[in-house]
């Protein structure tokens, strides 16, 4: 999603018919554009079906009650509510979902999955969207993506996560240069900034990570 797209996109969402039967943009009470569901590509529908299968979710189970979104602690910061992500997937709007920031903002708290009356694992679905979004080269929320990459790089290098190195590297690469610098004095005083531990058999971890990547590719 480009920055310039934010405003019209929000307008689409806020004016969406809650039953989801028609996608439309309403300006001053007049419908100026309605999405044509007949234009949705079969390949997108198939990709969505595979995505849902990987997440172990039947998208048809969702009847849009919104309980997931009511309880979502990150809801107010999202561009699509969890309920709307599912609705888009039901309708076939693959690109909208892969470009949404929502799965990248999701804190993974699992409240949605836990409260869904249809027992849909919404959190796992959200994670699957995020993994698919990353695997297909989308990057709707670069900060979150960078954090994950640096973390995984850390584990590959040391076998453990060096928290301090992680925070510093993230700040450098994300441009948040002074984030948490204020806390570091106390951390130093409290012995929290000691150099992390490196494991002995780092080769085991590296090979394991490579085999896991291969396992995923073969699927």
């Amino acid at each position: 999603m480009r920055d310039g797209d934010v405003a019209p996109r929000m307008r689409i969402r806020s004016s969406r018919d809650l039953t989801g039967s028609v996608e439309k943009i309403v300006e001053k009470g007049v419908i100026v554009q309605a999405d044509d569901l007949s234009k949705i590509k079969d390949s997108d529908r198939e990709a969505i079906a595979e995505l849902a299968q990987r997440a172990g979710v039947n998208l048809k189970d969702c009847y849009q009650c919104g309980k997931c979104s009511a309880g979502c602690p990150m809801g107010e910061f999202m561009d699509l509510l969890p309920r709307q992500v599912i609705r888009d997937l039901q309708l076939g709007f693959l690109e909208d979902v892969l470009n949404a920031k929502t799965p990248w903002i999701c804190a993974g708290c699992n409240v949605c999955s836990c409260r869904c009356p249809q027992e849909i694992d919404v959190a796992t679905l959200m994670q699957e969207v995020r993994r698919t979004s990353k695997a297909t080269g989308h990057q709707p929320y670069p900060e979150a993506d960078k954090f994950d990459d640096i973390f995984i790089g850390n584990v590959r290098k040391f076998g453990t996560s060096h928290e301090v190195g992680l925070a510093m590297k993230f700040n450098m690469s994300s441009g948040h240069l002074f984030q948490d610098v204020g806390n570091s004095t106390k951390m130093l005083k409290h012995g929290m900034l000691k150099k992390g531990r490196n494991i002995e058999h780092i080769d085991e971890v590296q090979k394991l990570m490579d085999r896991a990547l291969k396992e995923s590719e073969e699927k």
Binding site: P73, M74, E76, F77, I105, A107, G108, C109, N110, V111, S113, C114, D121, A123, Q127, R130, R131, K134, Y141, E143, A144, F147, D148, F151, I152, N154, V155, G159, T160, S161, H162, E163, V164, A167, H176, Q179, G182, N183, K186, M187, H190, G191, M192, L193, K194, G196, R197, I199, E200, H201, E204, V205, K207, L208, M209, R211, A212, L213, E215, S216
Partner: protein
Amino acid sequence: MTKYAYFPGCSAHSTGISQTISVDYIAPRLDIELTEIPDWSCCGTSAVKLTNMDMALALPARSLAISERELPGQDVFAPCAGCFQSLKTSAEFSKESDENLAKIKRMIDMPYEASVDVVNVLDVLNTDEAKEALKANMKYRLQGIKVACYYGCALVRPEKICDPDSVENPQVMENLVKIIGGDPIDWPFKVECCGASNHITIPEAGKKLSKNIIENAVDNGADIIVTACPLCWMNLDMREDEINKKFGTNFDIPVYYITELLGAALGGNATEIGLDRHFRPAEGLLTKLVDKDAPLPETEEEKKARLRKEAAAKKAAEKKAAKAAEVAEGADADADGAADAAPATADKKDEVKA
């Protein structure tokens, strides 16, 4: 003596240091023996899970396989809630089917039978043995301290993996706090999310979530917040000043690990249980301890009974005094003469009627 294979996790010697220190202090005092899993590696946590699910299942399995080989028959204890969630998710996946186990073994390339169970801090503290040892060995008790027990996410959700006593209103921590004399409050935000790593990637959102939790604890009368997760602890304790600055609030509430609280009851000093490593002043806890055998404070029922008793005693005393006055008056009348005595008594009778 209960033996556990110990998985400290990457935060153990950095931001989670107070939990590590307090776990080390209380374990032997609660008849718990911890042996660190040799050459354990990172659990992968959310970063790996959000990138590659196969890797997220394989990374913890390596440490579990080493534990199975080196410390057979022992449950794996992960004090970090995030590690617990990752390790247990992987263990449960392998136990689910032979196919799953085969897949994990392909990736870790080690012998592994998926025989280990994974437990968190609350599981370890909530056994009958640990609770009996706590009661027997505690030296001090909290008195009149209102405690907000904060669970966050990874100790209770996903429900299938974490298997809590209740997913919306767990009571395990409350029961431990009651044993050491604390007064747990009832509050609705105990299983809300602290913001997790969003404090780094989208700080505005993270701060709002932590603020909501602190605010709700304070509004419900808490003196302290108690947690069992290093990430929750950091997002509350370390960020309280930032939250005050951002939202113009004036929160001043210490945040402890449940293990620190038990450590204090077991007689540990500030250094021994990690209180000197907090971001906000935390050592005040020790000044609020009373001797374990000190008289218990009055309960609500006892207070009511006492007030009733006092009221009855006061009434009885008044009655007695009135009677004494009457007798004295009677004696005066006798002295004045028998003739006056009769009308005086009649007057009194009239008064009673009126």
